[in-house]
């Protein structure tokens, strides 16, 4: 890709230095661009300052498990008005675990589906179908999350409740939680569909950028088309697949509305070692926890706890976005990057 930065365009000296207006324009636009960085830095710092009492009062135990997280949150919400008596005790592990579990599962499924469907779109789909799928992917990306959530809560959750959860399952966990269909499974299913388009867009772009003669080399050696694609193209774009998965993770972590509607509003950590049952258990990740607690933000200690959740989310999302960006940068160095 030809780079069009200043060095490459080779703007003559007299143009560059010519006019003070030009210099002013550059400085103004540069300041505007730097404001984005300042904003992100400010967001992280101020959220941390606001959240600090919650972290400071709990220490590292904040991230640990212990007690009922919903009970702790309601104690914080009901803490006395005197600042000296504020309650901060919180063990947020169930919420963190739920975030990891739901985003992790969806990213795993979505990566699998995205790789295969991208191969299909680029190399195997008949032209007519290809022309249909590409707008379909764009459309899936554009559907608002609240619409996915509405379908989830009115269609998928009742379906899971009626068809997949047996009375036996209900009885086996009745003393801990109620199973009503709002579950890790419903959340994972919908979240997978929601993050798929981002991944497909990236993977399709980089599959297209793999030079044809690389594959032709393989074909000339007598392997079939599937082998050629799998062993040459997919291998060449492995960093793009990783980047797509990482960026999709950032998206999945930040999803609040759909999960608040579908995952069940109980701070509970489903245990995968319980067998398949954990899929049907409700749980509530960090982002929907903030949304649920939105009305209590003005209660000082409760608000500070919510900002602590927000801080964890921002930091992890910034980390994932940055790594995804960095991986993609390394790709474009080899000329098959997806810009």
């Amino acid at each position: 890709m030809p780079s069009l930065t200043l060095e490459a365009t080779g703007i003559p000296e007299e143009v560059e230095a010519g006019d003070p207006t030009n210099r002013r324009v550059e400085l103004m636009l540069g300041a505007l661009a730097s404001a984005v960085l300042l904003f992100i830095a400010g967001m992280i710092i101020f959220t941390l300052i606001k959240a600090w009492p919650s972290f400071a009062n709990n220490g590292l135990a904040w991230f640990g498990a212990g007690g009922n997280v919903d009970q702790q949150l309601s104690d914080i919400f009901n803490s006395p008005a005197d600042p000296a008596d504020y309650v901060y005790e919180l063990r947020a592990w169930p919420l963190i675990w739920s975030t990891i579990l739901i985003s992790g599962l969806s990213v795993v499924f979505a990566t699998f589906i995205a790789v295969f469907s991208s191969i299909f779109i680029v190399h195997f789909a008949p032209t007519a179908l290809q022309k249909l799928i590409e707008p379909v992917v764009k459309y899936l990306a554009a559907v608002p999350s609240v619409v996915y959530g509405l379908i989830g809560i009115l269609v998928i959750v009742p379906w899971i409740n009626n068809n997949l959860i047996t009375e036996q399952m209900r009885a086996s966990v009745a003393y801990v939680i109620q199973l009503d269909g709002s579950s890790v499974m419903a959340a994972t299913m919908i979240l997978t569909v929601m993050i798929l388009p981002i991944m497909i867009a990236l993977i399709v772009d980089s599959l297209r950028a793999v030079p044809l003669n690389w594959r032709e080399g393989a074909l000339a050696l007598g392997v079939n088309k599937w082998r050629a694609v799998r062993t040459v193209s997919v291998r060449a774009i492995r960093p793009a697949i990783v980047a797509a998965a990482v960026l999709a993770t950032a998206r999945a972590l930040g999803e609040a509305i759909m999960l608040a509607m579908v995952a069940g509003s109980i701070g509970f950590a489903p245990n995968p070692f319980d067998g398949i049952l954990f899929l049907f258990e409700p749980s509530r990740p960090l982002a929907p926890s903030i949304l649920d607690g939105e009305e209590g933000l003005s209660v000082v200690p409760f608000g500070e706890t919510m900002y602590a959740f927000g801080f964890i989310l921002i930091v992890s999302c910034v980390f994932f976005s940055f790594s995804g960006w960095a991986i993609r940068q390394s790709l474009s160095r080899y000329g098959i990057g997806a810009r």
Partner: protein
């Protein structure tokens, strides 16, 4: 007989060598190809079932009354009114957010492609814009609340008698929404600017124009289509965003103007949009009117489809051909 059999055999040998079927296909390859087909068709099935389901549900509950009446408080679904106010809210918020995001986004894109020095700063800005895409909207929303609840920002929202600033208004929500649309505007503009060949810039310099006027007179007009695409994509993001609305626009379903100045009072007040209307009326919210939630979701989907078609049209028609 013998020659006939020979013909058959050659035919059998040639058959698999038809287009796309070169080489030997092992079981694993066939399974892989099968999965690829299934996943591809799965995408179409999901998209069509979502659309058709919402269309059937939506059309059966939508009527002129729902579209033109304001939301009311009520126990029964028949008493809760329609979603006129949320529709107005969606329009207001989209206009406000886009109006802030478009100029800033275009400015950043120009700086990144045309100036971009020092190079390290440009790379950081690029990464920063990328991070805005990944930033969780709920975190942006509560950070927005943090900003707009300071007394410095009091003119932008409702202030209680004790001096506490409410921090929730169309202004607050619009400002944060602009950040959600920003990366899309930057992306669209950058793509357009990058596709302008460098000899166009050189021609302009040769005519004695400096860089600033080259940007204004040559590059910006040429990248109109890209800017429009980016802005439309950003608008779609704003229209679909819920978390920011729920946190920053207040929970009132009706528009609640604040203050005495005619137009500004609406922006200073609270309200709702179609997305928050769907959320509040679904079983996850107060759950009073799932039928109206379906109708509103259908309207939302129609807007999204319309915007998607618009983007396609712009990219198809607006592509500038450089010789």
């Amino acid at each position: 007989m013998i020659s006939g059999a020979g013909k058959k055999r050659t035919r059998r040998v040639r058959k698999p060598r038809k287009k796309g079927a070169k080489g030997v296909w092992s079981i694993g390859d066939r399974i892989g190809l099968g999965i690829a087909w299934i996943t591809g068709i799965f995408l179409c099935v999901v998209a069509f079932s979502v659309t058709i389901y919402l269309a059937v549900k939506g059309i059966s509950y939508i009527n002129l009354d729902v579209l033109t009446s304001r939301p009311e408080a009520g126990v029964e679904q028949s008493e809760t009114g329609g979603f006129l106010d949320p529709m107005i809210g969606t329009v207001l918020l989209t206009v406000l957010g886009t109006a802030i995001a478009a100029p800033i986004g275009v400015g950043i894109a120009i700086w990144l492609t045309e100036y971009g020095r020092p190079a390290s700063l440009a790379r950081f800005v690029e990464a920063g814009v990328e991070m805005l895409v990944g930033a969780p909207s709920i975190a942006l929303a509560i950070f927005g609340l943090l900003i707009f609840q300071t007394s410095f920002m009091a003119p932008f929202s409702f202030t209680a008698e004790g001096g506490a600033v409410f921090g929730r208004s169309f202004f607050a929500a619009g400002a944060i929404m602009s950040l959600i649309a920003l990366p899309f505007v930057v992306g669209g503009t950058r793509e357009a600017l990058n596709s302008i060949p460098k000899h166009v810039r050189e021609a302009s310099f040769a005519l004695g124009k400096d860089q600033a006027s080259t940007i204004r007179r040559v590059l910006l007009p040429a990248s109109r289509a890209g800017i429009a695409t980016g802005t439309t994509l950003g608008m779609a993001q704003i229209i679909g965003e819920t978390a920011v609305v729920v946190v920053l626009l207040g929970a009132s379903l009706q528009l609640a103007p604040e203050g005495a100045i005619p137009v500004l009072d609406i922006f200073k007040g609270t309200g709702s949009t179609l997305t928050s209307y769907v959320y509040i009326n679904s079983p996850a919210g107060e759950g009073k009117a799932p039928e109206k939630a379906y109708a509103a979701a259908f309207v939302l989907l129609l807007i999204v489809i319309a915007l998607n078609v618009m983007v396609n049209q712009i990219t198809k028609r607006g592509q500038h051909k450089w010789g």
